[in-house]
Amino acid sequence: RDQVQVAGSSTVLPYASIVAEAFGENFDFPTPVVESGGSSAGLKRFCQGVGTEHTDVANASRKIREKEIKACAENGVTEIIEVRIGYDGIVFASQYEGPAYNAFTQSDIFNALAPKVMVDGKLVDNPHKKWSDFNSDLPSEDILAFIPGTKHGTREVFEEKVVAAGCEATGAMEAMIAGGMSEDDAEDACLAVMSDGRAVDIDGDYTETLASIDANANGIGVFGLAFYENNTDKLKVATMAGVEPTTETISTGEYPVSRPLFFYVKKAHIGVIPGLKEYAEFFVADEIAGPDGPLAEYGLVSDPALVETQDAIADEKIMGGDS
């Protein structure tokens, strides 16, 4: 095998494909093959062993987990280089011509979608039917949200950074604990989303969310920033807690909903698979992953700590080790 083999997250895939293409154009190495298939599947193949029949790089839209590292090690994949390439902003958008969903807070989303909410200081079964039922600034439209399905890592971010935050902000969490729940249970309960059809899980991709929004004027959808930026003719974005999602607000951390993107390199393959190290270095080079590079242009929120990452790759620094 003489090309680098990459597999994993479909969120990272667009960026990886841009890099792979440029890599193929500028180096004599063959263009790497970048497969999609999901973070989990990518890491699983990555961890299946060392050797040419296994992939060299795994893209992931989340950090590798402890259990996975352990599984990797059991198969002999002990040295892994972790590379954070930047952040994915997660935005709330709706039909451009649709109702005026211009500004949300975490509490709004919680009030709209959680099964139990605070009404007049009491924890009750969610009585809200329309957005305006709890926030008069929002349009008087039936609540309908297209949220990522449970397969997506975005769902986790959505639950923790939006729903749970709203839970806390509205005081629902306190009320739950006061109602006799343990703190852990209350935290879990805070993540719940109603399943009566107002929150529609989308297991597919953002295109599917977009199609759903197209078919439902009153719906709001959860998108990646890059996807939104490419479809501004159809979508309008809402601010979250008063902050407009842009690459700048996300990279400064002002905008609250985002997640880091990673790729993992199998160190044992460096020096065996031609071009592997060069690819990894190229990926995080300033020209590519910097704030003016093509990745940022496409919608990646570039990592302020990019230099550290570049150094780490140059040194082939592995996770949890110091070699």
């Binding site: 095998r1 494909s17 999609s36 296994h54 295109t207 093509p294």
Partner: protein, 451 residues
Amino acid sequence: MTDASLPNGGAKSRHGSLTSVDARTKKRNTAEKRFRAYGVVAIATGILFLMVLLYAIITSGAGAFQQTFIKVPVYLDPAKLDKKGERNIDDIKKVSTFGYNPLIQNAVLKAVEDAGIETPLKKSKDMKALISASAAAQVRSSVIENPALIGQTVDFKFLASSRVDGYLKDRVKREDLARDKNIDAEHLDIVDGLMEAGVLKKTFNPAFIFGADASESRAEQAGIGVSMIGSFFMMLVVLFLALPIGVAASIYLEEFAPKNRWTDLIEVNISNLAAVPSIVFGILGLAVFIQFIHLPQSAPLVGGLVLTLMTLPTIIISTRASLKSVPPSIRDAALGVGASKMQSVFHHVLPLAAPGILTGTIIGLAQALGETAPLLLIGMVGYIASNAPDGIASGLLDPNSAMPAQIYEWAKRADPAYYERAWGGIIILLIFLVTMNTLAVFLRRRFERRW
């Protein structure tokens, strides 16, 4: 002996004139007409759905076959491209595509100025939005191929960026531009001007049919050709493995295998394999072909093998059904003149079962041609921008994608230009399918007969 009593007159009264239809016959005839009408309705419904789908596909995808190009002369500045001036290929190679961008942007700006277009965009960097990011690579590779070009002004035909292309195809509207950070209204003024000047043209784009995939940011460059070759090789593998293996297995099970619990089990098991979700075949393929047999990843050969396993049940089920429907008297006739069982099967039964076998093949291959999920696990879905393979071996073993996978990828990508390409890809996939089917349908017609 025989019952001597005659039927008592009932028979006569039952039959009237032939032209006057009695009530019961009327009822039966309406039932008949109704039955026949169901058939017509069923076929009409099927074809109506087909037409609706085809209409949707063609209207959404036709645009993908045209592309906007910009023709500009580019000055290949030696000061930028070969600082040492030695025309040493290694030095030239050191200049990356990023180094070529300014040259191209300058050239476009010059073309804009030459065309006499009034625009507030004066900087060459502003021209970036007009042309495809592929331009730099295009220039770089022609320079590397022929370093002598350095220092000359060479005419290039660049792809316009997907937004410009979208503007010409009415996908990008001026009203929406305020929010689009990729392109501004002023750019569109330039586009209008360049079009008038004949520098910018929308023409048929063979690269869509023959080209390779491109990255997310270059929708205008992407083509389905290479993945079509991937599909082609996979279909070859499927056809040359699934058809013979499927037919052979069916012949064994239907004609030779002893009829006992074991073969019952196998029979049920085969029907059951048809119900195994295709992605599970992907899991199997990854484990067996890649991790156990060490075949290369992302290879059409592996894809073909996985799809073969997936298609086998379809072919086996249809073949067995048609073998079963050959009347036993034909077999007896052959055995009676001293043909062996094998000969009777191959000479008589198989030709009579051929239409059903071919139908199974048509449907099985159609399914295989359109399948994505198992390819996800053996690495054929994603960004696989290989070049067209240069032989059968490399066609089978080099990384490649497949048409449905390519379409599926495109449909997910953010740039709306990809959406159009996805439908365009579907058109090509269907043409591919129809070509494949035509052959089989033609063969099937030759074998059809009633006895």
